[in-house]
């Protein structure tokens, strides 16, 4: 639900139902990060947002109000872009995490196999020594 102005769509308040701090804080962060690339200027990055914040009107009601004020772009578009960026970020997090976990598991398996090999080699050594001692005993007898 969007509460804005009919004449100027660069600022609006959005009500997200059935949401809480989980999504609202993440979206607020992404909104603050929204940039547009300008060329040929001292600083080529221009922020798209002048104000981004959220509030929870009452803790018993499951709803969040997100306020967006932009530097010209329609507020709805900026919010959509922020959510889109958040989705892409999540996808990237997921892929990096999966890769890290599978690499770790492979490494653990490799280390475990090496440990096994070492243990076996030690056991074989011990066995050899025992056999050698046993054969020496027989000889002495």
């Amino acid at each position: 639900m969007e509460h804005g102005s009919f004449t100027n769509d660069s600022f609006a308040s959005f009500t997200l139902a059935e949401e809480d701090h989980t999504l609202a804080n993440a979206v607020r962060f992404m909104l603050n990060q929204e940039l547009v690339l300008l060329l040929l200027s001292f600083n080529p990055f221009l922020p798209r947002v002048t104000f981004a914040g959220y509030s929870i009107p009452h803790p018993s009601l499951e709803c969040v109000n997100v306020r967006v004020q932009t530097t010209g772009d329609p507020a709805r578009e900026v919010l959509k872009d922020a959510c889109q960026e958040l989705m892409l970020m999540n996808r990237h997090v997921r892929s990096v995490f999966d890769k890290a976990v599978s690499e770790f598991k492979v490494e653990q398996a490799r280390l475990a196999a090496e440990e096994e090999k070492k243990k076996k080699a030690e056991e074989d050594e011990l066995k050899k020594q025992r056999d050698l001692l046993a054969s020496m005993d027989i000889e002495s007898d």
């Binding site: 989980t22 979206v27 607020r28 962060f29 603050n32 990055f45 959510c83 970020m89 890290a100």
Partner: protein
């Protein structure tokens, strides 16, 4: 030097040079933020009484006046984001990993979703046929609800008020105990549904039970054909019985999320802490070094020999720091003996946290391994964003 009235000829090269000139390229001009601002932006300073600079500077244009871009735009994020898995416990149910390059808002979102919005299976309805123990019915039912069940919730559907409990949304367990200690290993899975008969007027038709399974769960879920569904741990104590006491009950497990009730939370707990950074602001030598090393209960500091019998304290294991602040306390928290100088050590040690480096620990209760839980949590955040985008379009 030109005098008044003389024309200066500007060559083409000069024009091109002027057009492309950017003061920031000059080698003497410092780029980036001055170090004190960089410290404020990236570190939480844990002072003796309270931490400062805790809020993350999230606005992309915060440092525009200095020409520094404060954004974590996707390309930078992809390059700088890293995950390092530190440890997976032997039974695979505890996971410790580092997330570097992400903001607290999103890390907290993951933590909140892990605790409250990942579905699990837990006992919701407990049909008690016989309970002669000293544990009251409702207390017994509440304890049953908290028993973790090792079943993948993705295979099951939610049971809403209008639905009939069937093999796709309910797991039925039976408990009939007469022995002194009632443990979870005495819970028996009933793949064919409830055994308790609902009393109905017809004596001709087939007796109806509390669930309507059309076929055995062993057929519908091939994973459970050979491995029966069990609680995650067989030795959880449910109740203690005296001589002659008996408990006979049937429990139905359904799918739910932690928001509704904590029994549906798939993690024992999930938390993160920021990477601690301990900096010695000045040289700590000899006797002071010894006292500093002794003061820290986590052995963060070490003694280093400098030669000539002089010693120096160094930071060996900053990651272990728990912010107990013993190293910055007056006199290291030791009792003040008469005649010993009281010193303030706040100037020598700086306790900091790195704002975008999180050490996550996830402890799963047994339904799913922790790495799967985290992946699911990220997927749920993605779904939330998608829902918002769909509502806006």
């Amino acid at each position: 030097m030109t005098t008044k009235g003389e024309k200066r000829i500007v060559s083409e090269e000069d024009k091109i040079f002027a057009k492309n000139f950017n003061i920031m390229d000059h080698p003497d001009i410092p780029t980036g933020l001055p170090p004190h601002l960089q410290l404020q932006r990236t570190r939480v300073l844990c002072k003796n009484d309270a931490p400062i600079h805790t809020a993350s500077v999230s606005y992309s244009g915060a440092y525009n006046a200095v020409g520094v871009d404060n954004s974590v735009k996707l390309e930078n994020f992809s390059e700088n984001f890293k995950v390092d898995v530190i440890e997976i416990s032997k039974d695979g149910m505890e996971l410790t990993f580092d997330m570097i390059g992400i903001d607290a808002a999103i890390a907290n979102a993951f933590r909140r979703i892990l605790l409250a919005e990942l579905p699990t299976m837990a006992f919701e309805k407990v049909f008690i046929a016989n309970n002669t123990s000293i544990v009251q019915d409702e207390v017994l039912a509440q304890r049953m609800g908290l028993v973790p069940i090792a079943a993948d919730p993705k295979l099951f559907e939610y049971l809403s008020e209008n639905d009939q409990p069937n093999e796709k949304n309910t797991i039925v367990f039976k408990l009939h105990a007469k022995c002194a200690k009632v443990l979870t290993e005495q819970l028996i899975w009933l793949p064919n549904g409830s055994d308790l008969v609902k009393e109905s007027g017809d004596s001709n038709s087939k007796p109806k039970t509390y669930t309507s399974f059309s076929r055995s769960q062993k057929e519908s879920f091939p994973e459970f054909a050979d491995n029966p569904i069990t609680p995650s741990y067989p030795d959880i104590l449910i109740a203690k019985l005296g001589p002659g006491h008996e408990i006979e009950l049937e429990a139905h497990a359904v799918k739910g999320i932690g928001k509704t009730h904590a029994k549906w939370s798939p993690v024992a707990t999930a938390w993160y802490r920021m990477l601690p950074e301990v900096i010695l602001l000045g040289e700590v030598e000899d006797e002071d070094a010894e006292r500093l090393v002794k003061a820290c209960p986590e052995n963060v500091f070490d003694i280093e020999d400098m030669g000539n019998g002089r010693k120096r304290a160094t930071v060996a294991r900053p990651r272990e720091c728990t912010l107990c602040r013993q190293c910055v306390r007056q006199n290291y928290g030791e009792e003040v003996n008469k005649g010993v100088e009281e010193k303030e050590w706040i100037e020598n040690v700086s306790l900091r946290r790195v704002k975008n480096h999180f050490i996550f620990k996830i402890e799963s209760t047994g339904s799913l391994p922790p790495d799967v839980l985290f992946t699911e949590a990220v997927k749920i955040l993605e779904d939330k964003c998608e829902r918002v985008i769909a509502n806006l379009s």
